[in-house]
Subunit: 390 residues, 4 copies
Amino acid sequence: MIEGSAVKTRFNGKLRYCMVGGGPGAFIGDVHRRSIALDGMAEITAGCFSRSFENTLETGRALGIDRNRLYKTFEEMAEEEGKAGTIDFAVIVTPNVSHYPAAKAFLRRGIHVVCDKPLCFEESEARELAELAERNKLLFCVTYTYTGFPAVKHAREMIRHGEIGELIYVAAEYPQDWLISPQEREGNKQAQWRTDPQWTGESNCVGDIGSHIENMVSYVTGLRIRAVLARLDRLGPGRVLDDNATILVEYGGGAKGVYWSSQIAAGYDNGLQFRIFGRRGSLEWRVEDPNYLTVSQVGKPRAVLSRGRDSFYPRAQSLSRIPSGHPEGYFEALANIYTTYIRALVKHKAGEPLTEDDLDFPTVKDGLEGVRFIHACVESSRRGAVWVNY
Amino acid sequence: MIEGSAVKTRFNGKLRYCMVGGGPGAFIGDVHRRSIALDGMAEITAGCFSRSFENTLETGRALGIDRNRLYKTFEEMAEEEGKAGTIDFAVIVTPNVSHYPAAKAFLRRGIHVVCDKPLCFEESEARELAELAERNKLLFCVTYTYTGFPAVKHAREMIRHGEIGELIYVAAEYPQDWLISPQEREGNKQAQWRTDPQWTGESNCVGDIGSHIENMVSYVTGLRIRAVLARLDRLGPGRVLDDNATILVEYGGGAKGVYWSSQIAAGYDNGLQFRIFGRRGSLEWRVEDPNYLTVSQVGKPRAVLSRGRDSFYPRAQSLSRIPSGHPEGYFEALANIYTTYIRALVKHKAGEPLTEDDLDFPTVKDGLEGVRFIHACVESSRRGAVWVNY
Amino acid sequence: MIEGSAVKTRFNGKLRYCMVGGGPGAFIGDVHRRSIALDGMAEITAGCFSRSFENTLETGRALGIDRNRLYKTFEEMAEEEGKAGTIDFAVIVTPNVSHYPAAKAFLRRGIHVVCDKPLCFEESEARELAELAERNKLLFCVTYTYTGFPAVKHAREMIRHGEIGELIYVAAEYPQDWLISPQEREGNKQAQWRTDPQWTGESNCVGDIGSHIENMVSYVTGLRIRAVLARLDRLGPGRVLDDNATILVEYGGGAKGVYWSSQIAAGYDNGLQFRIFGRRGSLEWRVEDPNYLTVSQVGKPRAVLSRGRDSFYPRAQSLSRIPSGHPEGYFEALANIYTTYIRALVKHKAGEPLTEDDLDFPTVKDGLEGVRFIHACVESSRRGAVWVNY
Amino acid sequence: MIEGSAVKTRFNGKLRYCMVGGGPGAFIGDVHRRSIALDGMAEITAGCFSRSFENTLETGRALGIDRNRLYKTFEEMAEEEGKAGTIDFAVIVTPNVSHYPAAKAFLRRGIHVVCDKPLCFEESEARELAELAERNKLLFCVTYTYTGFPAVKHAREMIRHGEIGELIYVAAEYPQDWLISPQEREGNKQAQWRTDPQWTGESNCVGDIGSHIENMVSYVTGLRIRAVLARLDRLGPGRVLDDNATILVEYGGGAKGVYWSSQIAAGYDNGLQFRIFGRRGSLEWRVEDPNYLTVSQVGKPRAVLSRGRDSFYPRAQSLSRIPSGHPEGYFEALANIYTTYIRALVKHKAGEPLTEDDLDFPTVKDGLEGVRFIHACVESSRRGAVWVNY
């Protein structure tokens, strides 16, 4: 795995990680393991994959993990592995409810953490995790996968370089349709915990996918939200939490935006899309066709940039592994986040200073922003769709 | 012009119309004349094309109109032509400010009216026009052109026949970018009057194109708006009126929606688009690719219906003039509205009863709804984006 | 109808035309009448619409034509109208078999002719018509409609101005699927005459749509064919004539090409498309999305030009009637051909010299090239797909 | 890596492979290593990555391979690793010229082989390799990557189940533009060996990408080629081998086809596409948008199937790792081929019988067909584009 550029590295052996969650039936754990394997920079050596130890054992066996390093609880794993110093970082891919305690357990033991999003339920928890990481000098990554695509990074660079001028409006959306029928009553486990406040927190739709919009727009534009006005809908029958949300946004500096996320939009698989408008042009990108970026600059025809073909800024180009026209997808995007994180970890462990590019992965601070966003939207909606200041 | 089906008719000679507005430089008047000519069911025989009589004479000459039937004012034309009984209907294509007085002048003389949108500035004016038309038994068409496309009519029929189930969400938009630079200060006449409250009324962007969204969604879905929450933005420098607007909508029955219209969205020519979501499917259509309708029904793959190829409901199919794959465009859509109107007029004059299909053109009532919508949005925005009930 | 630029004209009244063909059930006659009406520069005043005089009377009545100017045969119409001098040009929209005798009849009477394609069956006939037109100084237009689109004309200008460099390869196609089932045995009249050598000539698919490819590529590129190698297939059951054809082409100068036309390609309505490759870029256009032109210049990203929005060469821009994003379609393309022809006729009648732009409509020479192309393809295929030199 | 279905397996530890080629600067070796890593079923344990041993050492170090298992020649590696029995299979990713001798070296030592395409230069060589593999009961995979996509496999299943009826026509193409400028004279190593007969064989364009068309169509349709008529062009200046090719195809059973491959088609990155037409429908797929399959069945609207969303046949569905809308790309396609191969190898080593699904990877027989195709095209073109029977 050495031919890429940014994904190329020199290191003495692979890093070692343990995983919390990701047992049988939990698709996202498998996705993380594959993405880490793609660049070959770390290997899994311990795990607590399920609340059922039977399941953990089964998964551990299949992954070829030493029986002694399969644990009944994440606390135990954090303690044992922390004591032994045999783990470089922990990956947390459980339902939302466990993110906070699990992350805390590893951070306290001095173990670096990668955690799925949303980071946790409460802003106070998020702040605590951020402080813990900072105090213990630990690298904390929150896996907002979609910012890992080269075309997204090129969009970010274009905006930073002023190629579309001052930003004035953002229209971003994330429609899906997997909850159009009451899946949670039809035995779909994913649907059960996603729609249950005890497992998922105060919001389903904003928490799960609306927060991806928030993170993506924040990453690409650099805009900071000043206020939100949100209408959270429960359009599926008998649902307690939101499954559709429309959010007006005001950014610092005067730009405006609208976000729409939905789980009941028939015909949409995974339609994350942003359209960002500046005074001199616009950028448009869809995750379902992620190797292309549509650029409309005032006075020029609408152009479609192709990853690898057209000149991308170095940071964006460096995260591509194959030539243009050979599609890269979701795994490669997540691998970009992991590989950036692991390379930073290697430098960090070696005591080398980290540059901005080294730290180009979503951190606990992004996780905190996500929690604040979810909370502000829920509050705005509860009060009848009023403006909530940040 | 006889081979079509709904566009086919039997009549004794063409109807005769006069036009207010549509002089040199006014693109929309020419568009209306061409659209009427396409089906050959009416001919222009009088006009007051401009406030400059010189211009009216020039346009009249080019169109081959009798010098005696070119007028200095629309009042004079209404009076003379009304007295002589030499006009079947009047077409009003002036800037917004003149719609109300001109329409009123013809209605009072017993002349049927076709008027561009938005109908007028005040709800009271709109109601007055509606009452006048009703009292005098006159057919009053407001040219919301976009509802004239066969694929739009098929979408409407699909919804009426329950093909996508109960409606739950609507996402519709109309982005353009022609006002991204301050055209109004650069000599663009269209931009001058569009951005000037004296000519255009209390709203520019919502009035010009937001009202198209309102009419389109109303036509296709049959949903009635119960409340709006609007944020009207002035994103172009030094602008008095809105050039961008984001509107949350609540419909009677519980469905929700979001509308976005913009004149500063770089890269967009004329991006009217609707996406309508029901419990069993969704429909999607874009005016820039108007011969196709994307249909996603739960349990079936996403399908793209092609006008003429796939089975359209009879009313929709009847408004197509050429086989599938031979693109029809804007003129044909407007011709559909005119031809439906003219056929209704022929039957009306013959004392025949008019069916629902006969009356399938936007009426003064649609115009009234448009005025109410614009006003509610302006009011909501002025008060800081609060809910305004209808 | 005066606001356009190239479509604007000054003239004393409309020209008058008669039509051969275009009776009940013949869709193309209606299409021609509407397209002529769109710009309002000519009106129909006589006709022989069908071999059945009853049908001619019916169509004539519906069109409001004087009973005395409806004819039993085109010969009679040519003679009477020619003698009286009451017709400016004749439009021939019959099945192919009558093109030659009808065109000849009008040319001999000194009447200008517009004839549908393919022009005729035999090269000798085509040459005779060309000579007759030249000798009698008559303007002869062959309605290859598709070259009338502004985006096509812009493509042509780009190539003439060297914007994609020396041409090296052409891939053009015209798939349809209307003959995938044996329509001709199921009562479809259009299918009956199209698949019958007596009515349609020696080729069905190449004659009907392959010849559109030939004309389009010739028009846009200026390349002249030096040799063809064709395989004509009869893929529908029991068919005598071709319904699918693949053709290798060699052009003068060394460029190469491949054309594919088909009437049995499931899923295709009317898929005329060209892709033209030069040493410095390529151009791509599809008739089903005709307002856009895809341009890929070496070293620049792939761009999509939009009619009206992006800078088109003046000749191309002048043939547009409405702003960008307001789709123009098939009728407008045909109207462009007619209006160019009629304007040329007006100047010609006034004794003014005609410029290249005046003559920018397909002529009898294009018709002749079409007949030669069809014949060369048929011959190549009959001999087992060998090269046939031009 | 255990959650997928077909990609899920139970085995005792990973298989071990060695690699020939894939040193610094050779992008494809890295791609193969990553794809194998994605599913984690094999690990690299030996290599001869370059003719320069320095380069081999550098690559080996970066990959963490034992210094003693890095070799100066593939012959030495085959001998040593074969003797020691420490390798399960060999991966050959060198320039074409070395495929034959390298594959032979491993097969003779009883080592299973995965080899890049085209398999070799001569039909006799290909037959020898096929016989050697059969005699020694070795599994031989030729990495035609593109058949690994789930949507391609679903297309194949649809055809096998008769969903588009008897096949009648195929239009397939593979345009690229990377050789539009004379890269080979500008220091591009890939271009140098690709355009040099000594390294690449008798054909460049057909050999490199035309053969992908041949393999893809053969895989998806099951059609066998009976004859080809090919025109190979050298459109780039000063080129000895073809860089563009147009090929007419006749299949057993009467279906026809046309293939176009090009390396000088401005605007195309990697445009492999097939359109397959049957009597009852058509299928269309593009590698640049590989998660979707366009299906047009007679009497139904054009539909776009989405991997994961719409019902795919089990074999196709089983090769998907993430939900619909989460794009999978090139690496996942190649991983599907490797994982299928490795699973077959595991069963084969265990003495279990192999089913058709087990053997669903491109074999040495596909490699042989590719060599025959290339040769027939070259011969046809040399003789002036005549039919060459198979």
